[in-house]
Symmetry: C3
Subunit: 426 residues, 3 copies
């Protein structure tokens, strides 16, 4: 059985590089898990267990958490082939002193108790941060987040704008916006005023990016001011708009956000391709899927109109990745960003990253982000990525004579840390 | 020259797993070939030979079969790089005592005679079955197949429904349906009645699946009963409908079939993406191609509406495969099924299966089917799949530390046998 | 660190095969570079340097060439991971006696001077030709190229038709056509007459192919003669047509070209999928990108209507490559052609060529072309391809037991030379 010693050596060196994790859903006030339930409640486990046959009863809010963990673990054997199971095993070994090779329902009590012990330590967050070799991790903040009570050099705020773009015509979002900005938006000028206050608030609290996830059919283009004024006024008076008008409003709001990103010099993370609520009976956060028939050509106007805004782009399929490789090779303001969601398994990370590493300027690639909801997931997810990265660097760079080992590791440092540091100015 | 001993060991163990082959076109009354002509008449050889320059003269019904074999073999050198040629070489070696490394026209007589000798043995079918380590193989039965004269525990009936969905408005199909069910369909209620009789007939004869192949632009959605009643009545009176009405009828009939699958608890095999008669001058069965621009998002309504029906899904491209991986990871009722047609070559099997193995619950994957027209093709096709599978298991599971060798082989057993056994209840 | 000796041995043998390069943009009157500026001015370097942050000032026509080279080299470190950088390093080592492992701005003077020395040798073109082991290279000739002053057995003319198909309604193109054919086109008959003269001129000067690049949404179909007559007449009188009429005209002209290809027995190279001027602020030739949402199904009518015309097809993505594999496996007149532009990096060459090598008749594959603007790029680009090819042949053919080493090399000879020789009749 041959082994790839070079890849292993590279991996070992790459693991020493401190991480900047430029996208997560971590709550900085509860960054780590407080029980095994917080780990197994991650949608990857609930959705895979459900897909493999688990009823949704155990997922009810009032279900006893320890029994929920047992129920999910009871379905682990059916998904023990998956990369997601691998993260859990890695967490158990790295953080919960688990020694075995497999985790089954029989381990439920032991793991539950180990988690209680570990996670109740007062310095648990500190331990996880340190053992993950993490410098800082970006958050996903709703636009009305007060951004207070945490260290923004460690937990970097990021303005998430899905609600503003796609739901500004609902009373709830308008009200939230009015309540944090004091502006009742009824025209474009007021929208810009409100957004200016939002962006200033975020920037004052250390925000380093604006972000949004977009459906596959979204085509950002500018909207005539008169049209946008009318729609904003109508929505202020009458509430929710008709579907086609919502589409126009979304484009107009999106374009205004890009304008603010330019003004406030914030990169605008685009996460392209997700359709929401496709499996309507799915578990919480386990309902969204994609349509491969989308193209970055849809973003032509945007990329041309905002040469001074950096767009770190995430995509959901290898077909879209090949476009992303080409668009970031051509457009100075387009940057590859991580391996997102359904693409975040070794088989796709490998093909997608190979192409990026070979064809996109090395300074324009953000290698990875965790997308984690709890700090404990940063380590196993980056481990998965680093393992693939080491193999690609070994095969395509060192053995191919492109880089020596030292240069390959420096490339990895750009991917894991230095590019994010420069692009997001952290 | 390094060799992968681990992969070879795994392959050798995997070959011992008895096979359930859940999709073929085998005629149970003439399961094996009766001459070399039956082997070389497989559309893969006629279409590749034609593509490589063979005129279609030798394919005429009245052409002397031995000369036809010689003509096709005469073009083999031009296609001896293909996976399909590899199957033929494997058949020659495994079943026809061929000892060489290459097959050319010079081997025509020897192979023809060897085939005559072997295939005329009274227990040939039994021999092939046993040497293929086959437990049972699924058929593709037209809806008016009497399903008699064969052992349905070995040859498992499967109700193929393309004609019903796409050609019910033609007199011929209506007549065939009337003749086996006694129902002259003129409204939805009669359609359901007729389908009930069909399904009962099939279930009484051991059918374990319903199946259909679908064009890339098909979007299954329910049709209003009134509309469907009108179309069925009109077609009963006037025959073939206009193109757009045919589309509505097809959707209505398809939805009714899904309803029957639910009632009769039959999985519904969906083979998605084929356009018929693209190369109009092509050889028989060598005219169909695909359009990569299709998406499983088109099946959202179906998958949501029938949570109790299992849909084993086959796709035609790696782009669609990535969607399939994600959809079967999320939807409990969507299952990956084999490596179909243009995707059934090692290069695509490898990338497609790697993703499935890493991301879909292991109980929701049907690894492979032969799609064979003659029993002799089951072995070489499975050999090709098992070779790739062993390599993927070696690299991504055993060497990656996910599984030990025993566990990897048990995973293969699910893919090759146990998942099909459970899902199709054979 | 394991090494693949078999792949290395194959690569070494494959490099001995003389090359027929069936597509380039070489100017036969200035085939080689005359300075380092000609090498670094290749759009791959200007666009990657620009994408990585270089302003466009140094690209101005009146910028001092030696300083321009220094400016581009100053950005090389940011793109030293790319395959394109690899070509440059290969050129420096193979042709400019460069001995180092990396090239940075510090090497600017040395490289500039070395280039001056080498390229000013009177037999430089001869040296490059010989050291590249090149038999002949195809050109890209505008339809009004006089095709004189060069050896057409070495530099094979190819009629490029983009202008005719997409801009015939502009005064400039009409005038150029009139000036070389003497025909003022105002109807289909005159168009055919003019094209007949063009094709005869090209054929008399040794042309061996007609070629065109096509946008992703192009769907070639025949146009009614009456419609085409009207559009040609209108455009003769009024000049440029409206967008939809231009589309009809383009289809009509394209179909006429295919007719001429049939009559003059010229293969018609289709380069499918490029959108022009997507990044409007991009450098010269660094503005075009693709839309993955295209399908060869759009070419159904064409492939069916012209069974006697060979269509060597190039595509821009792996999704399209999978279609190309299937279409060339089925259609006798469809041939795979090279690895084009954004697909021309090892990661995509590997997956795309693996599928072609396993599934398309070996006589129907044109392995590679350089697409080069200067002769010096033929060698490094082919080196990249041959390196990947050797690995695929080692893994998928020799180690898989399909071919022995000799047969694998003969397969490579078809890909690199003999198929092009037969298909283009050179």
């Amino acid at each position: 059985m041959w082994e790839d010693r070079l890849a292993r050596d590279l991996e070992s060196e790459i693991r020493k590089i401190p991480l900047i994790d430029p996208h997560s859903h971590i709550d900085p006030l509860r960054a780590t898990a407080s029980s095994l339930d917080d780990i197994l409640g991650y949608h990857y486990y609930t959705e895979l267990a459900h897909s493999a046959g688990m009823e949704q009863g155990p997922l009810a809010a009032d279900f006893e958490p320890r029994e929920r963990a047992r129920a999910i673990l009871g379905h682990m054997e059916r998904i023990d082939n998956t990369a997601q199971y691998g993260w859990f095993l890695d967490i158990a070994r790295s953080f919960l002193a688990f020694k075995g090779d497999r985790i089954t329902q029989r381990d439920a009590d032991q793991l539950w108790d180990a988690a209680q012990r570990c996670m109740s330590q007062p310095d648990w967050e500190e331990q996880v941060f340190r053992r993950s070799n993490l410098e800082c991790v970006f958050l996903t903040n709703q636009f009305d987040d007060p951004l207070e009570g945490f260290d923004t050099s460690r937990y970097v705020p990021c303005l998430r704008t899905d609600d503003l773009v796609f739901h500004l015509d609902t009373g709830q979002v308008r009200q939230r916006l009015a309540s944090v900005t004091g502006v009742e938006v009824g025209c474009l000028a007021e929208l810009i005023e409100a957004f200016g206050k939002l962006f200033a608030h975020f920037q004052n609290h250390g925000a380093r990016a604006c972000a949004i996830s977009l459906p596959p059919d979204f085509i950002p283009t500018p909207v005539e001011q008169g049209d946008l004024d009318r729609l904003l006024e109508r929505s202020r008076l009458d509430g929710a708009l008709a579907a086609d008008e919502r589409g126009v409003l979304a484009r107009g709001v999106f374009w205004s956000l890009a304008t603010c990103c330019r003004e406030f010099q914030l990169p605008f993370d685009l996460m392209i391709g997700v359709n929401r609520r496709v499996y309507r009976g799915g578990v919480y956060q386990g309902q969204d899927l994609f349509d491969q028939r989308t193209s970055l050509i849809q973003y032509t106007e945007l990329f041309n109109a905002f040469p001074d805004v950096t767009f770190p782009v995430s995509v959901l399929s290898s077909g879209q990745n090949q476009e992303l490789v080409s668009y970031s090779w051509i457009f100075p303001n387009v940057v590859t960003n991580g391996h997102w969601w359904y693409s975040n398994i070794p088989a796709y990370i490998e093909v997608d990253s190979r192409a990026r590493l070979q064809a996109v300027p090395k300074t324009k690639q953000i290698g990875y982000y965790s997308d984690a909801y709890r700090l404990e997931f940063v380590l196993p997810k980056y481990n998965m990525y680093r393992h693939v990265l080491a193999r690609v660097l070994a095969d395509d760079f060192v053995r191919a004579g492109v880089y020596n080992e030292h240069q390959a590791i420096e490339f990895a440092r750009l991917l894991l840390r230095d590019n994010a540091r420069r692009i997001f100015q952290v």
